[in-house]
Amino acid sequence: MVKRGGIVSAILCFCHSGNLPTYHGRYLEEENHRIDYLNLKLTRAFRVSIRSRILGFDHEVLSADVFPQFSKLGLVDIEINGHLGVVSPSDSRLNPSDAAAYSVARSQNDLDALTRLWDRHVDELDSDGFPREEFDELITLTQDRHEYLTANPHRSRQMGEVFSQPLLIMRGTRP
């Protein structure tokens, strides 16, 4: 596909490998911690049991990260960089309508990702380390936070809430 000497690269969402929470704000602290814990547990189960199988990765790679795959493909001169994007509705560079729209879109994206996973993989995840009961709890907690964040369009604007989008950017060259 790529020419000799060409580059294969990817932007990867490393929050999903479990290091940084993607929401920082005044919503209930205990619920935030629980959401972060459950998100991490779900994502690990998904990456190991489902994504690795779909992509044909080695199942024994427990971290299920793609970094080893770049080397296995024979790519050289591998570079790994990162970008921590943050977006806050309180940032004065966003106009109020964009800020409100961002809060709704970001919250709903997080929720939709969960409901889509539920629809497609709940049985596999249940048998692979993420119980159905915890999946239910995570969806409910996320929906409650989504409703809190979007119930009043001025709230996010005033509270200094921050959504983060931590990314790894990886590249390698085809010899």
């Binding site: 596909m1 790529v2 020419k3 000799r4 060409g6 580059i7 294969v8 690269s9 990817a10 932007i11 990867l12 969402c13 994504r51 992509l55 793609v66 570079e79 960089n81 970008h83 994007g85 977006v87 966003l94 964009d98 729209a101 961002y102 709704v104 879109a105 970001r106 709903q108 994206n109 929720l111 939709d112 969960l114 409901t115 539920w118 249940d126 119980p131 159905r132 009961e133 239910d136 969806i139 409910t140 929906q143 989504h146 989008q165 990314l167 950017i169 590249r171 060259t173």
Partner: protein, 125 residues
Amino acid sequence: MSDGSKEPKETARSGYFEGERLELVWRFAYRPEFVPLLMDYLGVLPQSNVLEVGCGTGFLSRLIAKSVDGVQATGLDTDRASLELGRALVAAEDLEDHVKLISGSAFELPFPDEHFDTVTSQTLL
């Protein structure tokens, strides 16, 4: 719960069109001052032929075409609704000479060998 007494709340999907929301979220993800560095990280060079696998609405393909001179960007995705929105955005941003969004699977790439200078993706893996 496992006894089926508490199913996921359906209201999460009201008005659902993921492509539109993702477009909005990505619009704020990269500040303008970071974009040249991002292009370097991704290995996108001027006048090159770039494939984005799993392009969705083609946000990254359009960003590449707007940021690097003479690039021909091709976005590939299986989601027709996202591709439709993406093509409208390509036209609205006057990028039709530089960005093509086509329907296809990452598992059956419809391109000849050694066709692209750079193959990239955004949160696909």
